[in-house]
Symmetry: C2
Subunit: 485 residues, 2 copies
């Protein structure tokens, strides 16, 4: 990932794995229904950004938890690595094994049933292979909201969302994937099944295995189903864009919005002037709310109870903030079409970034009140490396910045690739210095393993290796992801 | 705990421990400031309900994380058990060691500093020995809410709240202790320090050690400090009592209240007619809202944004619910004195129970929509055991019932003690059958270890033992709590 001396490569555990070969396929076929095994087509081997590929693998697509357990037991006996596979949308190579013996790719896509939904409890029980969009639709059909929301929601599956503790645009109010999970069913590395599909808000009976599996990226077990927390749909939704002077002012604006709405801010997204210029440059047809592009722009969404008019709440927020010099301009959506148009600006940013071509991009998080200082320091550090452009945007309410660095206008990213490692190191070093994270929502996978070793807390890393060795002594579960095998 | 055949007593790990004796005291005194060690006075050895006592122990009261780490290293070398001690308010013998070699009691009470508070981030950083009431006050002083709230908040300390994943009266809206914790600093069983005091909402960098330590009841490490999540204080608070026909109707009422307020219900407490009769019997001066005691009564509290009148919101909720036959009567507090009077009824229940004298009491949770069927089935099962009275009350919004069983009017609990085991088994068997938990908020400690072995998921128990052996191979951390040593 970067040009520094490699950190010590401590391994968590033991024996070499064997490849998923014809002998394994034969053993598996003896205990599984016909059609469970198959050839791993390219979509199972590639990843979204063509960063790497799994050279070869066996594919299994079980239909039941019991079949998953049988597969794990056979692989444990044969010492073959298993890569749990959801929608294949991960961005850190958690689902791709570029090196080592061919693994078994275990796709959950055929386990996609809605096992139950209890609207009065605000709970549903889904299998791991249901797509996030299908889960949202199931909740909506019952008059409830499943608030997890991501760009890849049409493809990403609940099992992968939980395995990576996915984030997205409504974390500020509803939390990450882990916060929306009440219980899991999972096949553990020895092939035993953890039956943890509780529909309980309170259950203090021992260590929280659910929270250990969530975010472990398939390295401690395979989540096969989950009970998920639903929410009431807010009676009123308000959307506005505000022009603000700097990240400090936007943080202050967020605090006021939370105070007035009793924590009713669903999204609070920050965009920089450079980002607005990028939209002008490559997507000039998009209508922007402010003729003079402000230094920073906030896109805020409120979810409110019955009896409040969202436009009025936003107007009062604006007036009070303007009086104190926090905002210099504002546009409040007066229709859902206008709200969509404001969101479109935010959603178009990744596309604009792609067209312009980033030299390096980052998924970092920071303590909210350090963002302003970070932005200053990082800008200076990048400036020292060359004449570069920075598009810093993201989920301000979560402290989650997508901090992307681009060539000067007219330049090409390819001509600046030699700077990528230095940029990454500068951004990650600073994020670390400010108490931030080098992976806010994407996870570690195989892409950020070196970063985890470099920046991670040594006592935590040591505990992680001990836990991995204890639960997966053969090292078959997603080998090489998160921890070096 | 009950009269059944004992379940298999699988131990997680190895060697016998040594007592905390004079030799240990000498070794500790050599590496700690004067006054750190002391005699364990009775308050460190007893527990709130006089269920058991630690016969003898050495006491250490460190002032810094480094001192905690030194103590753990010396105890590991000497193989002496350590009992982390907060406020001593736990109800499951997690802080009491009735058997085995004398432990070292490590009290966190001198580590009670507010290390930092960031109101605009809604985060504070406190040491483990701060009492919950002090933590609430620190948040309030900064215009924020730390919503964890318990009967014992004046004595219980943050470290213990986190170690036991404490619940309380505002879980419905704000979650348990674990949901309010963004990061921890902890001394692990080998004496290393996990520096995890992140102030981040998103941080996907490896296994979530914080969530493993929270709720592990001091068996995997000692939490020395934590970053805690704060909330805005709601602009308006509304309180009401509703008379409802049954738990089904109250669940339906809760769903409607959540829909109208966009999830603004802070508390939703259920009380039975028997509970109201108990109040009449032993606390007749308490004014009750309904002259004819209803079958069931709900106490609801809303936290609302600016611009809404809580009384109006509650009145509209009442009218709509009455129209559909969900509520038969209601009283809406029109002053904070009236709100306090309504809460007083709920808060007086434990005292009324104490005066009447329970034969057996339970801290269970259930899926919300199973509560009605559970109450019917449990009532029948208890009825089959004898002429007994049931006071079932609790945090309905969390599915958390305190299901307590009493002798007939005029009878004494002592005369029915022979029924206690059968009652407990009937209640816990049924809770388990309905997908519930035998410990909703109090934890396992040493009191419910047998229940955990009986009702716990075998794969989870096996994973718990593996984790315990991996992180605490000497078994020195709170030996015998949660898992049999």
């Amino acid at each position: 990932m970067n040009g520094l001396a490699a950190p010590p490569k401590a391994c968590f555990t033991g024996p070499m794995l064997n490849p998923a070969d014809a002998a394994l396929a034969k053993r598996l076929s003896e205990c599984l229904p016909d059609g469970t095994l198959g050839r791993a087509e390219p979509r199972y081997l590639e990843e979204p950004r063509d960063l790497a590929v799994t050279p070869s693998a066996l594919l299994a697509r079980p239909r039941t938890t019991d079949e998953v357990a049988r597969i794990v037991r056979v692989c444990a006996e044969a010492r073959v690595g298993i890569v749990p596979w959801g929608g294949g949308t991960g961005l850190v190579l958690g689902q791709v094994v570029p090196e080592g013996p061919a693994p078994l790719i275990l796709s959950l896509e055929r386990m996609c049933a809605l096992r139950g939904i209890w609207p009065d409890e605000s709970v549903m029980l889904v299998e791991a292979g249901m797509t996030l969009a299908e889960a949202q639709a199931a909740a909506e059909k019952s008059g409830r909201l499943f608030p997890l929301s991501l760009a890849s929601e049409g493809t990403a599956r609940i099992g992968g969302n939980l395995a990576t503790n996915a984030g997205g645009t409504a974390v500020l109010r509803y939390g990450n994937a882990r916060d929306l999970c009440l219980g899991v069913e999972a096949v553990l590395p020895d092939g035993s099944v953890h039956h943890g599909l509780k529909r309980l808000r309170k259950d203090n009976t021992g260590y929280d295995l659910r929270h250990l599996l969530v975010g472990s990226e398939g390295t401690l077990g395979i989540i096969t189903a989950a009970t998920l927390r639903l929410y009431p749909r807010p009676a009123g939704i308000g959307t506005a864009a505000f022009a603000v002077a700097d990240p400090s002012a936007s943080l202050n604006l967020l605090a006021r919005a939370q105070e007035r709405t009793a924590g009713g801010v669903t999204s609070f997204e920050l965009m920089s002037r450079q980002g607005l210029f990028f939209l002008d440059e490559v997507l000039p047809d998009l209508r922007q709310p402010f003729a003079k592009r402000p230094d920073w722009m906030v896109l805020a969404e409120l979810g409110l109870p019955a009896g409040l008019d969202p436009e009025t709440v936003l107007a009062e927020l604006y007036e009070a903030a303007a009086e104190d010099g926090l905002v210099s301009d504002g546009v409040i959506a007066s229709s859902s079409a206008q709200a969509r148009a404001l969101w479109k600006l935010r959603e178009a940013l990744p596309e604009a970034n792609r067209r312009i071509g980033a030299i390096a991009s980052h998924d970092i998080s920071l303590p909210l009140s350090e963002i302003a200082a970070f932005v200053d320091r990082a800008g200076a550090a990048i400036g020292a490396l060359g004449d570069l452009r920075i598009n810093c945007f993201g989920h301000l309410g979560d402290g989650n910045l997508h901090y992307n660095v681009f060539p000067p206008k007219g330049g090409r990213a390819a001509d600046h690739r030699h700077l990528a490692d230095a940029i990454r190191q500068a951004v990650h070093d600073l994020a670390h210095e400010f108490g931030g994270s080098i992976s806010a929502e994407h996870g570690i996978g195989r892409l950020k393993r070196d970063d985890l070793e470099r920046y991670g807390d040594p006592a935590k890393l040591s505990a992680m290796r001990a836990i991995k060795a204890a639960l997966d002594p053969l090292g078959i579960m997603n080998p090489g992801a998160v921890l070096r095998s």
